[in-house]
């Protein structure tokens, strides 16, 4: 029951911010970025600048074709060859969606359940996300505001109750490991920023305020990232950079009066975030599928996308090594460069050439 229509820039910003937070909750500074908290905090200042550079081709493309989606622009610029790129884009979205499902299953089995039926849990999450995607963008974008409220509440409660535990001397100077590490850390933030791609795909569905959506989403993210890195570095110290779920560990340490720990609250919020990210990526995959599939199959875009995500997430859920390999592959930044820089640049050049009277084959 897809609802027609668009969402506001504010809703888009909240949606993207929450999707980004999902990845932030698993951020482990030492294994992923090989930096300490102070350096990572300093790198956050440069991360938006790097991201701005990465998203520039996509942004120019959106300015040229404000109401067209990326696959539609591809067809205008490259003709039928664009379908190949759209297929790759769909594959990437399916991978992201399946990665989210598997990552969340891994979190559940590592933290809250003893020997959980992971395949069943993955199926449940997919079924719920499938239902969300079926109801349409407007429905889950509206829901995202409730999740934002829940996230801010839990973040505030956990952060507030940990204030007495903060040890500032655990925060190393930003340049203790040199400028090179600052640059590497800033790039690491951008390399995992798949929400920038989601933004490009979502932009035509925003009623207005694309710029403010982009700015608000990034500012919110910076504030949350800074808060989380600061808390995990100053409360957990060196261990914060090593443990797999630093914010979950912080939530377990929290004590508020009779509520002796807040990890349940954190788990609930993270479930909402996983649901939102899976739903959004699945919905976008479904939309991209329509752009390249034959008409007969395009009508079944939802089922094809859901089937692909289910298959892939079952493969990933069963093996942690595969999941971490996927994370490492994505973390290199090459996929981001391909889909956020190379692809929009290709479309942009092709579109310019086509306008000059040299249509591409």
């Amino acid at each position: 029951m897809e609802q027609e229509g668009k969402i506001s820039g504010a809703q888009g910003a909240v949606l993207l911010f929450l999707c980004r937070i999902f990845s932030l909750l698993t951020l482990t500074l030492r294994p992923e970025q090989q930096v300490n908290g102070g350096t990572a905090l300093f790198a956050l200042v440069f991360a938006p600048l790097s991201q701005l550079l990465v998203i520039l081709p996509g942004w120019l493309l959106l300015r040229r074709f404000p109401d067209r989606s990326l696959p539609e622009i591809g067809v205008l610029a490259l003709g039928k060859w664009a379908k190949v790129f759209s297929f790759l884009l769909w594959g990437m979205l399916v991978l992201l969606c399946a990665g989210t499902v598997s990552e969340f299953q891994f979190f559940l089995s590592a933290s809250s359940y003893e020997n959980p039926p992971v395949y069943l849990f993955a199926a449940l999450l997919l079924a719920a996300a499938g239902y969300g995607a079926y109801l349409g963008l407007e429905a889950f974008a509206r829901f995202s505001l409730f999740v934002l409220g829940a996230f801010l509440l839990s973040f505030g409660l956990i952060g507030g109750s940990l204030l007495p535990e903060i040890r500032l001397n655990q925060l190393l100077p930003p340049l203790a490991e040199g400028w090179e590490k600052v640059g590497a850390s800033a790039w690491a933030f951008v390399a995992k920023d798949w929400e920038a791609l989601l933004f490009l795909l979502l932009a035509p569905r925003l009623r207005r305020g694309k710029k403010s959506c982009y700015a608000a989403w990034n500012l919110l993210y910076l504030a949350a990232a800074a808060g989380m890195i600061f808390l995990s570095s100053t409360v957990l110290g060196e261990y914060g950079g090593l443990c797999r779920y630093p914010f979950f560990t912080l939530a377990s340490l929290t004590e508020i009066s009779a509520l002796e720990r807040l990890d349940s609250l954190h788990m609930a919020v993270w479930s909402f975030l996983a649901f939102l990210r899976t739903t959004l990526t699945l919905w976008l995959a479904k939309e991209v599928w329509k752009s390249f599939a034959p008409k007969k199959w395009a009508e079944q875009s939802f089922w094809f996308s859901l089937g692909a995500v289910a298959g892939l997430s079952f493969v990933l859920t069963g093996d942690v090594t595969r999941l971490s390999r996927l994370g490492q592959g994505i973390g290199t930044g090459i996929p981001v460069l391909l889909f956020l820089v190379a692809l929009p640049l290709l479309y942009l050049i092709a579109a310019v050439l086509r306008k000059k009277g040299k249509p591409a084959e």
């Binding site: 029951m1 609802q3 229509g5 506001s8 504010a10 809703q11 559940l108 809250s112 359940y113 849990f121 449940l124 999450l125 719920a128 239902y131 969300g132 109801l135 349409g136 407007e138 429905a139 889950f140 509206r142 829901f143 995202s144 505001l145 409730f146 009779a258 509520l259 002796e260 720990r261 990890d263 349940s264 788990m267 609930a268 479930s271 909402f272 649901f275 739903t279 009508e299 079944q300 089922w303």
Partner: protein
Amino acid sequence: MLPWLKKLTQASMEQSYQVFDSDVPKDNKIKPSLSENMIALRSLLENSSDLQAKAIEGEGCTVRLLACEGMTSQQSFSELLAEPLTKAMPQMKNPQQLLEWVRVHSALSMDQQELYTYTEVFQFLMSGFAVLLIDGIPLALAFGLQGFSYRSISEPSGEVNVRGSREGFVEPVRINMTMIRRRLKTPKLKFELFQVGEKSRTDVCMVYLTDRASESFVTRTRRRLQSIRMDIVLESAYLQPFLEKRPFSFFSGVGTTERPDTLCAKIAEGRIAVLVDGTPFALILPYLFNEHFQTLDDYTHRPYYAVFIRVLKYLAFYFTILLPGLYVAIGMFHPELFPHALLSKVAAAEQSTPFPLMIEALLIHLIYEIMREAGLRLPRPIGHAIGIVGALVIGDAAVTAGLIGSPMVMVVALTAISSFVIPSLYDSVTVLKFLFILAGGFFGLFGITLGMAMLMVNLCAVSVGGVPATSPATPFSLYALRDLYFRAGWRSLGKRTLKVEDLPGSEMGR
């Protein structure tokens, strides 16, 4: 949805709502001949014994006064119609003169309708009008002399208020219309009457303010109401599904009220109300989710108290649907989340019971619902007895026998009390409560949060007339927030009336 499934469901829907207009005679027009008309009417009514016909004969003309037994006021009928007509008849030289006299000079000239078809005659007769047929005239005159007995105006049992009017809607639609008109004396208030129901021909009245309600929304609602194909309409709930939009949801975008003052406040915000003859429950559309948590008392109490009550209601709602499920989920999967003092008590209580927590919760809630249902349908004195038996059986005997733990009794009691805080959501929360017990029992906290996410997305997808049911919480409006979780004072609320059309995310005007 899969195309073949879509086709199948659509076909079955169309089939089930296909009705035939078998009641309308082929030759429907009223004839000049009185005897011909009487034969036609009697045969169309299959000689039904509730049709009363009084013949009055004069020199120049003959008339028949028709009424349905028990539907007209006997006193008004004889004083205002039969008696003056009997006196006037000898002076009438021809049928045309009599018709003019009735039209212009009779005491009932204000409240009369000219009818040209048998269908109209039936409609008015069965709504309590008296109908006059004159020999030689191919039309009938209907007079508003309704005198059927109906329940007098009283305080609505489902929406009791501490302050404010004690009037509630009654069954006859026309009396309900007057209750609204008395409260909104503006010429912009419009009533649109039409009939719905092939057999019942129920009067349905659409009420709105022409300067507040969106024109396109009014047109769409009118079209939807007029396109309803049903045999009988006995209650406003029959029409509700036709005014709602998909998807299926536990929460409706169409609300109900028994209070004329509430209804007036709603239509003043640009909403449309639908009154149905035979029921005191009026429909209001669009109806936002937060309106379930608002009552007229919120606006008569001081703002700080109104805010307190609203927060309490939201808490009660979440309590009802989540408390049993959360208790089961934490008890079965995450006992470490119980504070230590509570954990030992819960563990001690549950150790002596034979059932797992989930079965225990399902069982006890099911028993409670059975007893509630039994108490509701039985005569009051017996209903009280059911309550006593329930309290003894559940509260004492089951715990003493070791069938259920005492913390579970607390959970049931808290859930039951909370569920009555918002009566309009009772049916939704009852089913949801069971679903969350199952989700918590099978999948723990993950099941609960996932279920909650699905429920919320479903709620967010509900919109009526293009207005999202969750507005103005999401899509968010800071201005509209003054009457959502909080209630601003009247100095602020009275400055500008917020129309539903202006709510964020509204596409009502499109």
